[in-house]
Symmetry: C2
Subunit: 382 residues, 2 copies
């Protein structure tokens, strides 16, 4: 990209879900043509991009052929073919985040070792090859969470385990055993890194989880935690981004334990659920920031414009089939409520169907409204 003049940039996105859809919403404002690869012909991006290719982003040849059509290639999901990305990068395609970063993030075991190596605080862990091995682990390592090293996603491939005696219930693949943190709360920082190394973080958010779905239920910004904790959270997130050498966006989810320690929990090298509020609450959205970072454009301001609460809108339990939106009119009458539905035709229990951002001068009022949105708006089947 030339500083003096920019012409059309062809941007490829591996994955065509809601994150890609929201990226396209921002790409529309720029000289960026979007190419999307997804196996689902009904993916949220399928009809909203310049070119949609129906294919498997985990397949080497599919990714290679797809990537050769574009100038810049990025992701909205981690489970992509890394070997193809390496090859494309060798051929001169700009691949951000880089293949090596994605490879690390595909393996929760390597991630943990990376934290240890770079003195990044994280919960105590052990790498376990299979469930037999679990039998002999010392009880001091429990209670814990077991996470499959690969292919975990949105709470899938994660289970709580109380004792080595429960070994038979475990996954039978390579796993990480993570000691359960005596958690005060959970927070997240999204960091962007540009081609030239410029780095900017969004204001930290704190989160409440839905235990049943193991998904973020409410997100609050500005975080209600003390400034020194937030400053430390930003410092940790930026250290992770620098240690990775990532170009693009990195979401860093952290625990704050009851002793006041911040521990890195999960990281994602892409747009993230913990940044959805940025459309309305920040001067630049996370989706625009990602485009700027990967396309070699300058980063935008991450300044908070207003307090906000984000609520995920999940498919209602007990309903499966063609989606219908109950209570949408009531919610659309509430000032400061911004609905973002993802265009998924089929709902199922706890499926992420959309989110709402509630902005208000008072975070407390926004929280009240968010609860009202949650209670009023239901995604059911027709």
């Amino acid at each position: 990209v030339n500083e003096r003049s920019t012409s059309l940039i062809k941007l490829g996105i591996l994955g065509g879900g809601q994150l890609g859809r929201m990226m396209i919403r921002e790409a529309m404002r720029y000289p960026i043509e979007t190419y999307v690869l997804d196996p689902d012909p009904q993916a949220p991006c399928a009809h909203l991009c310049d070119r949609f290719v129906c294919g498997n982003f985990a397949d080497y040849n599919t990714v290679l052929q797809f990537g050769r059509q574009v100038d810049v290639l990025t992701i909205e999901i981690e489970h992509v073919n890394v070997e193809a990305l390496k090859q494309l990068s060798n051929e001169g395609i700009k691949v951000f985040p880089q293949a090596e970063v994605i490879a690390l993030i595909q393996d929760k075991g390597l991630q943990k070792e990376f934290y240890a190596q770079h003195q990044i605080p994280t919960s105590p862990y052990l790498l376990i090859d299979d469930k037999e091995t679990l039998r002999n682990i010392d009880e001091s390592r429990f209670p814990a969470f077991l996470k499959m090293r690969k292919m975990g996603y949105d709470g899938k491939g994660v289970m709580a385990i109380q004792s080595a005696k429960d070994w038979e219930k475990a996954f039978d693949v390579a796993m990480v055993l993570e000691k359960t943190v005596d958690m005060e709360t959970e927070l997240a920082v999204i960091v962007a890194v540009a081609h030239d190394g410029e780095i900017r973080s969004f204001p930290p958010v704190d989160m409440a989880f839905n235990d049943q779905a193991n998904l973020v239920e409410f997100l609050y910004v500005p975080s209600r935690l003390p400034d020194h904790v937030l400053d430390e959270a930003i410092a940790i997130a930026e250290r992770v981004a620098k240690a990775l050498g990532i170009v693009g966006l990195l979401a860093v989810e952290m625990f704050l334990d009851k002793s006041g320690n911040l521990l890195v929990n999960e990281i994602a090298p892409r747009a993230h659920n913990s940044g959805h509020h940025t459309f309305e609450a920040c001067e630049t959205s996370q989706f625009e920031q990602l485009l700027r970072a990967v396309c070699g454009l300058p980063l935008g301001s991450t300044k908070l414009k207003t307090p906000a609460v984000m609520v995920n809108l999940l498919g209602e339990a007990g309903y499966q089939g063609e989606a219908a939106y109950s209570g949408i009119q009531e919610v659309m009458r509430m000032d400061g409520v911004y609905l973002h539905l993802y265009g998924k035709k089929i709902t199922k229990p706890y499926r992420k169907m959309g989110h709402a951002t509630i902005t208000n001068e008072s975070l407390d009022s926004a929280m009240e409204m968010a609860k009202q949105v949650k209670n009023t708006f239901k995604i059911i089947a027709k």
Copy 2:
């Protein structure tokens, strides 16, 4: 649309230009599938809608067949086949704005007569059948503007005329001769009317024109005019909307003359250039408001969130061909500047290629920044 529960709405849009593109940007957030009809296979909407139909929106059968596929049909340009819209409406398709409203607006002569009939203030005018007729018009009617009654657009079909002696230079079609207003400034109000008659206006804006291109160059909000003028402007705009009986969006452009009178200049029954700042400056954008109005959903808040200046980004004089964006990086480094480029592949002199909204707590600072954007950012050919 059922109050209790809403499922997917198929929305047809006649016209696939930048206004449609920005409507899609908001439709993406709702259970709204977009169908677009435009004769240009490279139209800004072509790749960003659920279904694109390449065809002529002025052709009866094309519009009829297109409209039969959707639940709700709207426009982003007035020059559409009204007879087909009447037929579709008879068949039960929800057509908003209504065919009768569009018919009135397609004819600037009928518009003027409508204002007279409803005591809506407008500049003195005469309807003229052809240029021969002009010869005998009394000189007290000049200086004036001549406007073609039909098919005028963005300054096309409009010319200044100083005297009846200049009759030979005139168009030779049915025209409106409008006495030139001794103008203080120009302002605009966008009104939305929902199915149930709920009516909401956006805060008035005032505007500076580019005389060469006859297009809005800068738009300011909040308007710098006194409150009583703004209140009157809103009252006039809402009277026009009610008199028309429109459901949808109505942009009302007005002159303020040197004696303090407001005079309706042009009206448009759709999203409008004078509302582009609403993406960032208002709680609901004009594009979302239009979707809400035509789809039978409740209207959103039009509250101003921040002062803003909007600047149209036109193709640089002297350049024609594949668009390139000079100075884009400098402009993207300015906090509070929101670029919206329209994805038009080809630039030509004064073609509307995009706009930028500049938000700032101080309108004066936003104005300074807008000038800087205008001076820095140029759309040239590759």
